[in-house]
Amino acid sequence: MESLILRGGHLLDPSQGIDEQVDVVIENGKVTDITPPGRKARGREVNVEGMFVAPGLVDIHVHLREPGYEYKETIETGANAAVAGGFTSIVAMPNTDPPPDTAAAVLGFAARARNAACRVYTVGTITQGRQGQELSEMADLVAAGVVGFSDDGAPVSNSRVLLNAMEYTRPLEKAILSHCEVPELSEGGQMHEGRVSSELGIAGMPPIAESLGISRDIALAGYSGARLHICHVSAAGSVDVIRSAKMAGNARITAETAPHYLALTDEAVRTFDSNAKMNPPLRTRQDQEALKKALQDGTIDVIATDHAPHSHEEKQVEFDAAPFGIIGLETSLGVCWTELVKTGVLTPMQLIGKMSTNPAQVCGLPAGTLKPGVAADVVVIDPDMRWVVAEPFRSRSQNSPFIGCELQGRAILTIVGGTVRYAAGTLVR
């Protein structure tokens, strides 16, 4: 395998505390050296001066739809979208048909993911068939390679079942990734319950449906000692619950939010565009401010996309008939750079922590670092590039609320295991 030297870029590596201009040397698929700029080395040189170089981005909340819904997305198309967005590792959520609730299903998934453009992992289900009743064979699933457990959008509503799952998985050292929601409170809801829903007459999903679900899961995690990762936090009240639980220190918790909650509010629903519809829903300016503060003070550790592809036919319907979810892999970095870095909410280094190092740790992935010796999963980011989001996406689906938006900041080079998988506009395989 050829060697590659990334010359003169500004390295952002939270795992080593490096935030300066260096050369990164890649040989045989691994990072072999990080040197002061200009030192002699053999291999293909790429001048990345003026760019940021970082460990490849890691998205631990992606819906790849395979098996069962290949018309929305496949492992292949999802991975192609991922590398175009700067991601080198992604974790699939389990709402497929059949779901990854057996070792055989997980091994089948892994076999299909082997030739994908980036590293593709999957979580296993907490319960068989995501029915919330009988536990999946969780030890067997870990042996087959799952990196966490989740029933995703079908949160385990029976607290006894979830407590059993948490106690059972504790020695397995995998996190429970929880979509926290009290379904009775959000049932029938189509958007955030607030001024806009009241005005439009659309049934609302109250923010307490989320924060109350989070409170329960945190209590169960504290009692069981399990590791809990709270998915897609969208509401200010949820942030308060997580912050005080983290300060009390009696549960092992991490939390994530998604780029769209930072960039959009429920005002986007006024046009009845179904690409403004996801669960949890877009909330208010106050919730946005709380999320940004939570990213700053470490209450929220991770930014994940909740990439949820749906076909044009499914989304181009009446608002209440449309499925929840939007795609996000190809816009995540641009949205976060625009909304968080440009505005001074996070430093570039902090953003890489939220989008690479921290998520890798939550799922125990060999990623999120460029320490010499590790696999060379690298992203090069142009912080100044302005671009307008436009179809077609590499994802098989096009359900993005950001179409037509101008963003600043973009991945221009994505390297997976030393191989260039995406370079400025074209997909290199």
Binding site: E193, R195, E318
Partner: protein, 317 residues
């Protein structure tokens, strides 16, 4: 007067005072037409309208049909029981088919909020909202305005109390926008579970106390109460609802002596209104129905791009 420029009528929230006045003025002319023996003014001859009703509605559909017939338009009725919607056709495909049939206007009633707006993005013709979910029912709001303006001679400065299931009511939403845009003051009243959760965006007062809402009201608007809301646990019983929020002659005494009563129909007699007050001298409920036809004629006429100044009201065979 500025020229009417809107192709669609999707809601009252974004109409200006001038636009609403223009519709009411045109409707006044059509009321006079409806009062004479020869009630047709075939000014929309050759104009094709589809009545697209995805939700049961007898009176709104009949009112639109009558308005269309009085204007001489060609009419196609498309309702959910006879349509291909039951076979799973999407609204987008329905819209494309309508488009292919070269239709000039679509009147749509749909249970989904925003369905008329969706349709307006997919067809060339005019779209008239005949009620979308709990969002808006603009022609109802306009016929209410017309009824009140014809009764009092003005709308400015009146106090309007809307009582009942505000939360799920498209009539209440259209009326809030319509009445406040025309200068009236609106009070919304109902049990807490039937009020919108957040009312900051409404230019209206909100109260759970009926006496407070009725105090000094010029217009008392009772909304229809639906049994399914009780089944969903939003209030304990129809009996308790009537006791707390039903409008009776005694309660009307709280309002001004000149106050009038409106209801969008159909009425649950004995639930939201007593028989006595429904059929009493203050009730304008049947006038609302008459004015509904005139309002719909005006809306069809204006959205068809016809100039009200050119309106020829001479009776034609």
């Amino acid at each position: 007067m500025t020229k009417w420029t809107r192709k669609h009528l999707l809601g009252l929230a974004d109409l200006t005072r001038e636009e609403i006045s223009q519709i009411l003025d045109s409707a006044d002319q059509f009321v006079s037409v409806l009062d004479r023996p020869m009630r047709s003014v075939p000014t929309l001859r050759g104009w094709t309208v589809v009545n697209l009703f995805f939700e049961d509605s007898t009176r709104t559909r009949i009112s639109f049909e009558l308005a269309e017939k009085r204007l001489g338009a060609d009419i196609v009725n498309f309702s959910v029981s006879t349509s291909s919607v039951k076979k799973g056709e999407t609204l987008r495909d329905t819209a494309r088919n309508i488009e292919a049939m070269r239709v000039d206007a679509v009147v749509i009633r749909h249970r989904s909020v925003g369905a008329p707006h969706f349709l307006s993005r997919h067809i060339q013709g005019s779209v008239i909202n005949a009620g979308d979910g709990s969002h808006e029912h603009p022609t109802q709001g306009l016929l209410d305005l017309l009824t009140i303006r014809r009764h009092f001679g003005h709308i400015d400065g009146l106090r309007v109390a809307i009582v009942g299931d505000i939360r799920h009511s498209r009539v209440a939403r259209s009326d809030v926008w319509g009445f406040t845009t025309m200068g009236a003051e609106v009070v919304l009243c109902g049990p807490p579970t039937l009020l919108p959760k957040h009312t900051d965006n409404f230019p209206a007062k909100v109260t759970t106390r009926l006496e407070e809402a009725l105090e000094g009201a010029d217009v008392v608007y009772a909304l229809r109460i639906q049994r399914e809301r009780q089944a969903a646990g939003l209030f304990p019983s129809i009996r308790e609802y009537s006791a707390q929020y039903g409008i009776s002659s005694e309660r009307m005494e709280r309002a001004k002596p000149t106050a009038v009563l409106l209801h969008p129909g159909p009425i649950n007699r004995g639930w939201e209104l007593t028989d006595e007050v429904t059929d009493g001298p203050r009730s304008l409920i049947l006038q609302q129905v008459t004015h509904g036809v005139a309002i719909r004629m005006a809306v069809l006429y204006l959205t068809a791009g016809r100039d009200p100044a050119q309106l020829d009201l001479a009776p034609k065979p």
